[in-house]
Amino acid sequence: MKLRRTRLYVPGNNPHLVENVGIYGADCLILDLEDSVPLPQKFDARILVKYSLQNVDFGRSEKWVRINSLDTPFWEKDLREVLPYADVINLPKVESYEDLERVSGVMEEIEKENGIDERKIVPIIETLRGLVNARKIAEHPRVLGMAWGGEDLTAELGIPKKKALILEHVRAEIVIAAKAAGKMAFDTVYGAIHDLEGLYKYAQHARYMGFDGVGVLHPNQVEVVHRAFMPEEKEIEDARKIVEAAEQAMREGKGVITVNGRMVDKPVVERAKKILAFAEVE
């Protein structure tokens, strides 16, 4: 199972930050062409990101690029420049299944032209409309997982983001939408980059909400989040028993898996496998 506990954002037009970002062990890197790049630098940034994807050793991190949203004149240019070299496209402000179809169409063209595999999308749900359509969006075959952001959404509601109570509901909805479609779910970033204790609690909270990872803005956050996603000893022990029992049942050709005399269902086995996956790295 590929872990995506951390996705580290790096401004796409800053070569000094980009050239070093591979050393922090983040599961995924997001080379950002959107919010961290001022308008006059959009052109330079997408070319810089293209070159970085071909020249920088990003270690074991998966290479994501956050392109500009569909309501800008940039998204298609971004795709044409970087898609052949990126693993995943992070797409902001997705509101509907049709949005994905539009992007997917262009991606298909580029993929054909370059003779490359199908790239995945991680849509970011940032509006109420997007939230309403999240379950449908998650079903799109290109979707690897669902991410979200609260700025626009709370603005739509006219409430301050810091005090917004609705965000817990949004989190739940994102997880439900993603998981029901068999996709991953990604929680948003923790902004207080110096508060590592707060981050640890935040990441644990995300894990117990059902998220597979959180966004990180600073390299120092990576290790803390990975620690927070590390299952507890008891969880690991139980998971081991379940997975062993499942393997034994498989070997013996039994249809029913039992642990300590109790029947265990398939989702429980899957959960156990996931816990072991989280436990075995680092």
């Binding site: 070093n20 050393i23 600073h218 390299p219 680092e282």
Partner: protein, 512 residues
């Protein structure tokens, strides 16, 4: 020219004086007896306080060709060197050998004196403009660079004879007792000046804080000081003290510090251990992290040798270390602690690490964490020249700490803004690879093959371990192959190993 033990061609004569080539660490043994200074007297009732530097220079009889010395506790805030040298120039005294512990960018006014006949050469660290001017050939004779304690050795053996020591004194009394912990230009210890006070033929203290007799505490004693010259200001506090030094915020530098910490943890961390602290960004981070780890583990250090900063002082006051040895204070917390805490001890530089003495503090160090401008595949370190060949830094205590510590770690980025730090061959050898145990970069570490024990201790660690050759190749792959420095044959500076042998030379850089 002969090839020395690190493969560098070095001269056997510099400025008419014979020197041996570097033969390996600990291979050149001391000879002879210690040198002495002129015996002089101060009859009862004679005042030591003079009205001007000019009067002092006249009284001590400074002549053409003589040697004057300075300490660098006032760092880039120092006014004294410029003040004294300008007076010497105005008095028409020529061909002076300047023998400072270190000079800084603030001493740029000395540059024209290299060519107007006032200064024939500088023997000491030159950080910045003076080093650059020297690189381009401005100095008439050859510069000689020594480490902190290598300089002490040179004075004690008579290799360098100081005619007049000019000692900047943040506090002085009229009879020549000096300290650095009080006054508007407080700097902490006066460790660098002690050897000069003891061995110079004549000594002049220059102060902007004359207090009534006796000044106390006393760092440099009255019986070594001939004259005291009060002036308006000896320095600019903003350049003397660094303010509160901040731990690096660069995530890649922090990663280096964390790797270094893990090595220390696995190899050396135990109750009663000791370490060298410094003021560089990575060094501060290591000190801070080490303090946190010691607290967590309930470990106490026996001593820290510094390079004292607030972080070291905090550890002393939290009971994480018994004693702080202080040769240089970097912030006001350090100055205050030196003044108030009897476990914070000012150490003469002769005690710090003179290899030809009955043993320095560095011989008792378990861990030393050092920086570098370049490191090569033989673990040789350069802290003196940039990769373009320009002489821009002194040796400091690098050689002492590297040679003394049981575990010597060099923390460096793999490259700095395209310039590879790990190289095939360093531009200048400051410290030989035989005393460097581990090189730590943000992309992984390299362990000196002669330290199997460290390799063993790191087994099972997640810190990536490479052959140093692989780190070098990695750096070159990222940066491209650097051009060789464009230099002429002319030697502009000699780099001395702490035992007085020549470890390398610096050549004149061609002007483009």
């Amino acid at each position: 020219m002969v090839k020395n033990a690190v493969g560098r061609e070095v001269p056997s004569e510099i400025n008419g004086q014979r020197f041996k080539p570097f033969a390996g660490v600990g291979k050149t043994l001391p000879e002879g007896r210690r040198a002495g200074s002129l015996v002089r007297m101060a009859p009862r009732g004679r005042s030591k306080v003079l009205n001007s530097l000019e009067e002092a220079i006249r009284k001590v009889g400074l002549e053409d060709g003589m040697t004057v010395s300075f300490h660098h506790h006032l760092r880039n805030g120092d006014y004294v060197v410029n003040m004294v040298m300008e007076t010497i120039r105005k008095m028409g005294i020529k061909n002076i050998r300047v023998f400072p512990t270190a000079l800084f960018p603030v001493h740029k006014p000395l540059v024209p004196m290299l060519t107007d006949g006032t200064i024939r050469r500088i023997e000491g660290s030159m950080n910045g403009p003076l080093g650059e001017a020297t690189s381009y050939g401005a100095m008439r004779e050859t510069a000689v660079l020594r480490s902190h304690s290598g300089r002490v050795r040179a004075v004690e053996t008579g290799e360098v004879k100081i005619d007049v020591a000019f000692i900047a004194a943040p506090t002085a009394d009229p009879y020549g007792n000096l300290n650095g912990v009080d006054g508007p230009s407080a700097c902490g210890p006066l460790a660098y000046g002690m050897v000069d006070a003891y061995h110079a033929d004549h000594t002049v203290a220059i102060t902007d804080h004359l207090v009534s007799y006796p000044a106390h505490p006393i760092s440099i004693y009255q019986h070594m000081i001939d004259y005291v010259v009060p002036v308006e200001k000896i320095g600019d506090p903003a350049g003397i003290m660094s303010g509160t030094l901040r731990i690096t915020t660069s995530p890649s530098r922090l990663k280096i510090a964390r790797y270094a910490l893990e090595i220390i943890d696995r190899v050396a961390l135990r109750d009663g251990f000791s370490f060298q602290a410094g003021a560089g960004g990575i060094s501060l981070a290591v000190t801070k992290f080490l303090g946190d780890l010691m607290k967590k583990r309930g470990i106490k250090a026996s001593f820290i040798n510094g390079g004292v900063t607030k972080y070291v002082v905090d550890m002393l006051h939290e009971g994480l270390v018994d004693v702080v040895f202080d040769g240089q204070a970097f912030d006001l917390d350090a100055v205050r602690s030196l003044k108030e805490d009897m476990n914070h001890i000012e150490t003469p530089l002769a005690m710090y690490g003179n290899p030809h003495s009955s043993g320095g503090i560095v011989n008792m160090l378990d861990v030393g964490v050092l920086g570098a401008t370049e490191v090569d595949v033989d673990f040789n370190v350069n802290v003196n020249t940039h990769s373009d060949g320009l002489l821009l830094h002194g040796i400091g205590g690098h050689q002492e700490v590297a040679a003394g510590s049981a575990l010597t770690i060099v923390t460096v980025p793999l490259y700095r803004y395209r310039v590879p730090v790990i190289r095939e061959s360093v531009t200048t050898v400051t410290t030989p690879g035989e005393v460097i145990d581990v090189v730590v970069t943000e992309r992984g570490i390299a362990i000196n093959p002669k330290r199997d024990d460290i390799l063993e201790a790191m087994r099972g660690s997640k810190v990536p371990i490479y052959d140093i050759q692989d780190l070098q190749k990695k750096a070159e792959r990222i940066c491209g192959k650097p051009q060789e420095p464009d230099v002429e044959d002319e030697i502009i500076a000699a780099i001395m190993w702490r035992d007085g042998t020549v470890i390398d030379v610096v050549r004149k850089v061609k002007k483009h």
